[in-house]
Structures are given as C-alpha cells and as structure tokens.
Amino acid sequence: MEAAVTYTSDEMMTVTAARALQDRMTCFVGIGLPSEAANLARATHAPNLVLIYESGTIGAKPDALPLSIGDGILAETADSVVGVPEIFNYWLQPGRIDVGFLGAAQIDKFGNINTTVIGGDYASPKVRLPGAGGAPEIAAACREVIVVLRQSRRTFVERVDFITSVGFGDGPGARQRLGLTGTGPQRVITDVGVLQPDPTTCELVLTGIYPGGSVADIYARTGWELQVSANLKELAPPSDIELSVLRGLVASMPASKATVVPEPASQGAA
C-alpha cells in the first residue's frame, strides 16, 4: 500500500537549510540545527562540503551527529586541527569561509541576532541565554550567513533585546559603516518558510513557503509587518533520501533525546 511521505516542519527546515549548501563550499558550523543541516548536505548532495567547527576542527567528516562542537569524532576525522585563537584569527577573520551557519533565540527584521538576554535589563534579565560564542565574528566575516531557527512572535521581533551578532544593523549601509566584511544573513530558514533580505531595504522578506503552508500563518508568527516577495516560491518537500538520511543522522547522535537548542523560556529554579 502506498503511504504518503510524512515529515515534520523541523525536518522541512533542516532539509531546506541543507539544500542551501553547495558542494565544495567551506562552512562554519554551529551546534544544533545548523550541524544537522550541514551534515545532511555532506551526506547527500554536497560530499565535499568542508565543515569547520569553532573547536578548531577543519574538514571534519563525522559519520554520526556530534552532540558538542568538540566531540572526539570531529578531531579524529578532520583534515586539520588547529588551536582556538588560530581558527578565529587565521581562518575566520580574513574572510576565507563561504558560509556561516547560525542559530538564534531572537532575530529582527534586519537579521540582527540575539543569543544573550531576553526581557528585564542586562544586569537582571528575565532569561539569561548562553551569550555570543563564535557568532559575532562568524556573522561579520563569513562571505554569507544562513540563520536557522523556529519562527514565532517570540523569536521574530521588531527589535531584538540585545544585538549579539549583527545582520544589517539599522538598515542599508550599516555593514559597510561598521567595517563588516561579509555580506550578512542572506537566508533565514525557519520551520514555516524562508526569508531573504530585500536588496534595497535590507529588510527580511518572505521568499519561500513550504507545501501546505499559508502566508497568513507566517504573518501571525512574525513580530513586524512582514513583506512578501513578488517571487514567492513554494519549496519542494523533502525527498525520501533526504528524510531517511536526516533521520539516520539524528538517531546517530550520542544523546538523541537531548534538546538541541537552548530553550529561551525560563523554567525557573526551586
């Protein structure tokens, strides 16, 4: 009996992110959704994708998804392992890396990212997030940046509570004024669609929607007045191969029950 292929919105997001990577690109990978997508790309259409993790592993070829950016499998399979000052100073800073792959807790219409604090003020925030990590310089120096996160009014806000990593700052010309060498976030890939910056306004506009999705739903998940591209496209659903490889990768992660993204919601303590 033929059964329709079913998949989750997270799987659609990861597959879409993987498709944005081309073979032989160099890619600076964050942990969580970016790592899933980059490894999916390497396991399918981009076998020569160069994965670079901030732990200093260049050309890592893990056959299972790592839980952290420094799992042993990354060092053991890398073309080269370098120290942390070197990965940032020699490899990232001069603009040698094609794509930076980032997650976020909040993003605004100019693609600025917050992974630092939400609510309250800086000294006593409502939610304290992990902070910057490698993201500010990845966002500044990679030739382009892809952001992967789930879309809701909590994550897609008019203004981020804290600019941890710069997208297009306050709009056109900001990156040039700040001396940021890369082209900034060229794609924001979510569980409901794809947003890309308008070349004139630098504002993120909806350019891609998933099968069965509605623009009205995406509006409802966006905390600013979202513009929709005149060339809005419906993106192809995951193929059987993409799905089976992705599910194999996720199952291979050492602790696959782990929540792979830091939860922005405060759980509170005793």
């Binding site: 200093g56 839980l67 952290s68 950016i69 042993g72 941890t164 782990a258």
Partner: protein, 286 residues
C-alpha cells in the same frame, strides 16, 4: 621546573581565595577533577575565567566559589541552559554573580595578548554589537597605517590557569593532543599553572599535532586519571554525553544540585559523577 604533587596539594598551593582562575579546555580536556577539588577546598570569591563555562563552572558557581564570571558562551553544549549559572544571574543564588562577557574571538585574543606580554590584542570583532556597551576592556582602535577602525580587547592575566593534559614525564614536561583549544595561551598568560594528567610516563614520545609545555612553564603537575570526565582525553576516554544530558535534570533544581554535590564532591571518596576507573568508566591506557 614543575613540581609533581597530588591534586589536593596543587590546588591548595596555587588556587587561593579571591584569585582570578582560568580553567580551560575547549570541550576536550576540561579539568573537571581539578574543579571538584576547588569546590572541596571551599575556595571563595574567585573570578572564574573560561570561554565556555559548561558543567565545570556550573558546579563551581552553584557551590558558591565564584564572585565573577568572565566568559564567551555559557551553556551546556548540545543540551541547553546552565541552570546554576542562570540561577546566579537571574536570582542571585547562591550569591550574586558579576559577569563580563565577550565573544570567543575576543576571549581567544585576550589570552593571546596575555601570553604575548602585551596589554591588548587587536581583532575585527564586536563592531555593531551591544557587547561593548556592557563589557569593559573592549574599545575601538585606529590602525596607524591604514586608518581602519578595529577593536582592541584587554589582555587576560589569570593568577592561575588550570588545564588537563594526556601526559607528563617525570620532569614535569606536559604533552596534549587532539583539540588543543586555548590552553597554551591560557597557561602562558597566567602567573601560576596547574596541569592534571592522565598518566605520568618516563619519556614523552612524539604525537601528531601535540602541544608540549616545557616543565619550567608549569607550576604543578598532578596525576588525575580520567580527570576530564565528563569531558574526555583523546586516546584515553570518550566524552560522556549521557552525563551532560543528565546534568540538565540534576542542576535544574537547587536541592537536587546540592544533593549531588554532597554525594559526589564532599563525601570522602566521592566520585565526581563517576566511579573513577570503575565499571562506568571508558578510560583506557592507549
């Protein structure tokens, strides 16, 4: 020349109340056994410095050892929040925690400046972010040759740096390999250093990609097999990912955290979450 002593002796000698202490190791080779010893010796008012203050600093913060944290990414890698860190920042428990936060590139360069004997380092970074508004020691600097505006970050100079390595020889020369992180810079930037090792050998044979710290750069070496756990030492142990996941539940609640610390750190012969070299251990001599 490094002196080879017990872990308790090394911490007693080199980590003092009020010190600025860097414990480094980027996911790999995290000196967790040394962190437990600092808790056991009840050090107070420490300024803790570390790029990724994961489980090791969550424990030190929850145990009340820290006054201030200098860092660039405070999370449980691949799992989620550091609950003791968040409780300290959001609710001042067990004590208020002053924070000074940077980016990874900034922290790495701050160590590099310290190791180089320079007052600051230069990078392209931080520009346009809100970090310089809240973080001291970050400033614009104009290149005297091109006029380009770059970012200066103040040097880090810890009183003591603590790291974990695979091996030392009997003279106290230290060797580590795999993901080597920022440990060399952190040791060279510090006034004193403690290195825990998986084993002490007669002679260090060459290893691909290894860093060797000469004995005269190290203050104390202490034997601590499996001393990185739940982190790992390449060729000796594997990362205990299950522990990182389990830490989420242990640390979420103040009472369960304190029970864990009492049982595993303060109970004589406590395991630090692992029966050392016991049935749970994946430790092996290479």
């Amino acid at each position: 020349m490094a002196e080879i002593v017990s872990l308790a002796e090394a911490i007693a000698a080199d980590v003092r109340d009020g010190d600025t202490v860097a414990m480094e190791g980027f996911t790999h080779l995290i000196p967790n056994a040394a962190g437990h010893e600092v808790i056991r010796q009840r050090r107070r008012n420490l300024t803790l410095v570390r790029m990724t203050p994961d489980v090791i600093y969550d424990q030190l913060i929850g145990a009340g050892c820290a006054r201030k944290l200098v860092f660039s990414w405070a999370g449980n890698p691949g799992v989620g929040s550091l609950h003791r860190f968040r409780d300290a920042v959001e609710r001042s428990w067990p004590a208020p925690l002053e924070i000074e936060e940077h980016s990874h590139a900034g922290m790495a360069n701050r160590y590099l400046a310290g190791a180089s004997g320079l007052p600051f380092a230069i990078l392209r970074g931080y520009r346009g972010t809100d970090l310089p508004t809240y973080t001291a020691g970050v400033a614009d600097i104009v290149c005297p040759f091109t006029g380009e505006t770059l970012t200066a970050v103040a040097a880090l100079r810890p009183d003591v740096t603590v790291i974990h390595a695979q091996r030392a020889d009997k003279l106290g020369n230290v060797q580590y390999w795999g993901i080597t992180g920022v440990q060399k810079e952190a040791v060279l930037a510090a006034t004193r250093s403690v290195v825990t090792v998986e084993e002490i050998v007669d002679e260090l044979d060459p290893r691909p990609g290894a860093v060797v710290l000469p004995s005269w750069m190290v203050t104390h070496v202490a034997l601590a097999p499996n001393g990185a756990h739940p982190s790992y030492a390449l060729d000796y142990s594997v990362r205990d990912n299950d522990f990182y996941v389990a830490w989420d539940a242990i640390s979420r609640d103040r009472a369960s955290f304190q029970t864990w610390i009492d049982e595993h750190i303060f109970t004589p012969g406590g395991s630090g979450g692992l029966s050392p070299l016991g049935e749970h251990s994946q430790w092996r001599q290479p």
